[in-house]
Symmetry: C2
Subunit: 118 residues, 2 copies
DNA sequence: ACATCCATTAGCAATTCGGCTAATCGAGCG
DNA sequence: CGCTCGATTAGCCGAATTGCTAATGGATGT
């Protein structure tokens, strides 16, 4: 898994990783992803907000973070907005990162694109 | 992958997930994991700190977050401290979460343990 | 046109985060 | 013993995050 599509530039990949993992850092946002997935992958803002204890505006902001990370897509439909999960993206970004650790490191340290130091 | 060991309680699993994803939310911490993995899985605090642009104390704190999340273990050796990556844990927690999205959701929404709402 | 409904945007307070420098601690060496 | 070296702890500060309520925006229905 996680070996698909056009090659993103290293910088782009880094930025995507940052956005995705930042988005995954909050329990409510992880939960939104799960709800979206297990509820057929498509829900309106109101349906999502109804499932959470926090206020609707707060949920709206969480959704915004997920959208900006590319994990979720919005489609305006009449006066409601439909949010849809992008499973591929989740796997492409988070999955690819985790995949580095799956296998033992090659003797020649051919590291992936990291971010600081040598 | 990601189906191993004694069953953690739901609450425990939630807390672990929170700690792990919070730890993964910062680029420097993700980078520490990568360095650890691609450098034989075992480095001293000084060796790690040397690879980063931020100050040593700051790196120490990042390492603390990783340790508390269980992603890294420390062993005191003389006056140095050796940090070692726990790949299994990374996969057990983050991998298991991502695995929920790998397959299409079953018609009967048998959701995993989330955190809020209905 | 007007009222209503779905949803976002604005703006604020409280908290957490991430960086730094200075101080401290403990092990090893001369 | 005293000094140095590896590393963490303490404390400060600015920036980002997350929560809320109130205000606004835009589509629908009467």
């Amino acid at each position: 898994m996680a070996e698909r599509g056009p090659p993103r530039s290293a910088a782009r990949e880094l930025a995507d990783r940052e956005a995705v993992f930042k988005a995954l850092a909050h329990a409510s946002r992880r939960h939104v992803l799960l709800v979206l997935h297990f509820r057929g992958g498509e829900l309106t803002a109101g349906e999502i907000a109804a499932r959470f204890s926090c206020s609707w505006p707060t949920t709206t902001r969480h959704l915004g973070v997920l959208v900006r990370a590319g994990l979720v897509r919005v489609e305006a439909r009449g006066r409601e907005r439909v949010y849809r999960l992008d499973r591929e993206r989740l796997d492409a970004v988070a999955g690819t990162f985790l995949a580095w650790f799956r296998a033992p490191p090659p003797p020649t340290g051919d590291a992936p694109t990291g971010d600081a130091g040598s």
